[in-house]
């Protein structure tokens, strides 16, 4: 938590986005309530019950986005991928109910990991996210950056 507060202090008034890896429930609630945190990521790797309806409501109130990581859907096979899909389905249900912003990401480290918007939509459809929802989620990071810059 100290590292995150230090990162928030260093974060200028520019267009930087602050993305935080999710942890347990107490950590997530604390992070979401911090002013300046933009995206909570890797929620599927957090312990079960780390992101509940209470956390979802807090995320909606504070405008913190939740990242749907699509890389495990590409890289993993078998039950680990099933676990990630289950997690994404649960998070998407919360997102639709509470309306917090969400993003989709491939966390690409090379051109081989990149996927086109059409492919992202096909992957997101696996856990029930529609094409329009995917395209809206793709636009969220730039909207968050614009919010920091103060551009209307």
């Amino acid at each position: 938590m100290k590292g995150i507060i230090a990162a928030l202090r260093d974060k200028g008034k520019g267009s930087d986005l602050l993305l935080v890896d999710a942890g347990d429930q107490a950590f997530n609630r604390a992070v979401i309530s911090l002013r300046g945190v933009d995206v909570l990521r890797q929620v599927h790797r957090a312990p079960r019950g780390a992101f509940t309806h209470v956390t979802a409501r807090m995320a909606a109130e504070h405008g913190v986005a939740l990242e749907f990581d699509l890389q495990p859907l590409v890289q993993l096979r078998g039950w680990p991928r099933q676990r990630v899909l289950q997690s994404h389905v649960r998070l998407l249900r919360l997102q639709r109910k509470y309306g917090f912003p969400c993003t989709v990401a491939t966390n690409a480290r090379s051109i081989l990991d990149l996927r086109s918007p059409r492919e992202l939509a096909a992957l997101a459809r696996l856990f029930g996210m529609g094409e329009e929802e995917t395209l809206r989620a793709l636009a969220v990071p730039s909207e968050l950056a614009r919010r920091h810059r103060g551009v209307p």
């Binding site: 081989l112 990149l114 096909a122 992957l123």
Partner: protein, 160 residues
């Protein structure tokens, strides 16, 4: 065996995919196995049987994949999960979905922004320049033992 009437034939869809990296020349058998593995792990054996994936053509930076009509969305999702073929890493970018091979072949013949290898000398060293689709130029050092890959961007015009 007499051929069936067009109305009696099974409806198929053909997907044209571009291989990434552009210079990859994977074996068709390896690509087929990679696609079958992706389809089966994602949709199961019954799903794979319904999709009936097949690789019709593989080469020149393209892969032509066939599936049953109505299963294109499942096939697209499965193709997006392909990350390697054989020993090498490979990604398939979907370019076109069509009901006829004619339009697929016509699209394959269109120039796609790639050019043939051209020799380049930078700081006295010989490189082969390969321009891929997009704005990237790759320079591959012409050394037999340890070819070095440098990235030459349009933004700053320097070798990185």
């Amino acid at each position: 065996m007499p051929s069936r009437l067009p109305s009696q034939r099974e409806r198929r869809r053909y997907l044209l995919c571009r291989t990434v990296p552009a210079w990859a020349e994977p074996e068709p058998r390896e690509v087929f196995h990679a696609i079958c593995e992706a389809v089966t792990t994602l949709w199961g054996d019954t799903g794979a049987a319904a999709i009936a994936p097949a690789v019709l053509d593989c080469g020149r930076g393209y892969v032509v994949v066939r599936c049953r009509r109505g299963t294109e969305t499942q096939m697209s999702a499965a193709l997006a999960t392909v990350s390697r073929a054989g020993e090498g890493r490979l990604a398939l970018r979907q370019v076109l979905t069509s009901g006829t091979l004619h339009s697929i072949r016509r699209r394959m013949q269109e120039p796609n922004g790639t050019s043939s290898d051209t020799p380049v000398v930078v700081d006295g060293r010989a490189f082969t320049a390969r321009r891929s689709a997009g704005q990237k130029v790759d320079l591959i050092a012409e050394e037999k033992k340890s070819p070095e890959l440098l990235f030459f961007t349009e933004d700053d015009g320097v070798v990185r």
